[in-house]
């Protein structure tokens, strides 16, 4: 009888703990939404991106940038400004155009006045991150 009680206790404990874990999971969608109003005021919102470490070491999105248009990409994370999240931009030939980590400093936003229309890859990596969880927004202006 006492074994049965222990078993019920274990099942309930596992259930409650797993529920708490779900609650504590990364809410990258909320963070990406928080990033939208942080775009500079003259930029129009285009996309919000979830930045959450999965099986790969990086998170990547892509978008066609247009010549003559200026784009802004920012990073939001819980706690510290960027929590070690770095955004890098690559052109269609995978040449690196920009990286938000410079001289050991993490920059939370990059502005890119595009001179060449094409597909660009927006890649997020984690450098000393504690939460591996964040969000980002992309905006444009002419």
């Amino acid at each position: 009888m006492s074994h049965m009680k222990k078993f019920i206790f274990v099942v309930l404990s596992v259930f409650i703990l797993s529920t708490l874990e779900v609650i504590a999971q990364c809410n990258s969608e909320a963070m990406s939404n928080q990033c939208i109003p942080k775009l500079a005021t003259d930029f129009n919102f285009l996309k919000s991106y979830r930045v959450e470490k999965g099986a790969k070491e990086f998170v990547e999105y892509s978008y066609v940038f247009t010549k003559g248009t200026q784009y802004m990409i920012n990073i939001c994370a819980g706690g510290q400004a960027t929590d070690g999240i770095v955004v890098s931009l690559y052109d269609s030939n995978r040449n690196k155009v920009a990286s938000s980590k410079v001289n050991g400093q993490f920059i939370s936003a990059i502005a890119y006045p595009c001179n060449t229309t094409g597909i660009y890859y927006i890649q997020y990596t984690f450098d000393g991150s504690t939460g591996y969880c964040g969000g980002s927004a992309l905006g444009f202006k002419r």
């Binding site: 005021t41 129009n44 285009l46 066609v64 010549k67 003559g68 920009a98």
Partner: protein, 301 residues
């Protein structure tokens, strides 16, 4: 014994709470979507989602037209009154994209009366595709009454369309998302061609049209995934192939040069030292416009 029954009951309750159970309402809703499903694409929906997210917002083109001083012209757009003609999911999805571009155009030019008509047309199309819940017509309508709300209006409209696309992809209805984005892109190209016709020799407009060659390649790739399972999309792909033949004459060359940057007020401002050249003639523009008009004519009729 009673303890064992209680234990089995508890485990069943826990499992059913964790499982993918559906409420009767959810089930009915999902069943109602079945008519919109196709046999399926020939590639994973994840790959389709990756390509779909690359397609630029038609708002960017409307902004180019406004910023370059081109005047608003409602006759370029698909009449909102045409919405009653669209009775299939195929036509509804394409014209939802078209009306979305038209709404963006009216918003950017702050033509609120026309904008309200397009909002209603969009709501009709979205309801017909069971995605009306993502278009908050009341909020959008309220924002449209005051030009000071332009930023909020553009933001909410963009968010609504992003939500629709995301939802369609999670519901294995990415085919509709492909059509929505195709319609939106085609309408933006149509409007640009109309403005270019009214401003012959305008280099910026010609380049904007020429650059669409890159997007067309993506659109055709997306449509090709459905050519075996969806006759309408196969036919649209065939039409797009005609457009590709005209765009093949457009030549885009790139010159890469490493970028530089400076930090301004905490923002890294990149200086793009690369460049691109777009070779496109007046004749190319005329040919592109003819094919675009023909494809669009089939869609909006």
């Amino acid at each position: 014994m009673s303890m064992r029954i209680a234990l089995i009951g508890l485990i069943l309750v826990v499992l059913s709470a964790c499982g993918p159970g559906k409420k009767p309402d959810d089930q009915a809703f999902l069943e109602s979507l079945d008519s919109a499903k196709t046999e399926g694409p020939t590639i994973s929906e994840e790959v389709i989602g990756d390509i779909l997210q690359q397609i630029p917002s038609p708002l960017e083109i409307s902004m180019i037209l406004k910023e370059s001083g081109k005047k608003y012209n409602v006759t370029y757009l698909n009449s909102a009154d045409n919405r009653a003609k669209y009775n299939t999911n195929y036509k509804k999805a394409l014209n939802l994209g078209i009306y979305g571009t038209d709404l963006g155009y009216t918003n950017i030019y702050e033509q609120n009366q026309d904008g309200v008509k397009y909002m209603e047309a969009i709501k009709d199309m979205a309801d017909g595709l069971n995605i009306g819940q993502f278009f908050d017509i009341e909020t959008v309508g309220r924002l449209a009454t005051n030009s000071k709300n332009l930023d909020s209006l553009l933001l909410i409209t963009t968010q609504n369309f992003n939500s629709i696309n995301h939802y369609l992809q999670t519901q294995s209805r990415a085919n509709l998302s492909v059509l929505l984005l195709t319609g939106g892109w085609l309408e933006a190209l149509h409007v640009t061609c109309e403005v270019a016709k009214a401003n012959p020799g305008n280099k910026e407009l010609q380049e904007t049209i020429g650059e669409q060659k890159i997007i067309l390649e993506n659109i055709m790739l997306l449509l090709s995934f459905y050519k075996e399972s969806d006759q309408n999309m196969a036919s649209l792909l065939n039409d797009m192939d005609g457009l590709k033949k005209v765009f093949d004459k457009v030549n885009i060359t790139y010159t890469y040069k490493e970028s530089t940057f400076e930090i301004v007020d905490g923002v890294m401002v990149i200086k793009d030292n690369s460049s691109s050249t777009i070779q496109i003639t007046n004749e190319d523009i005329v040919s592109i416009k003819e094919v675009v008009d023909s494809i669009r004519g089939k869609i909006i009729s």
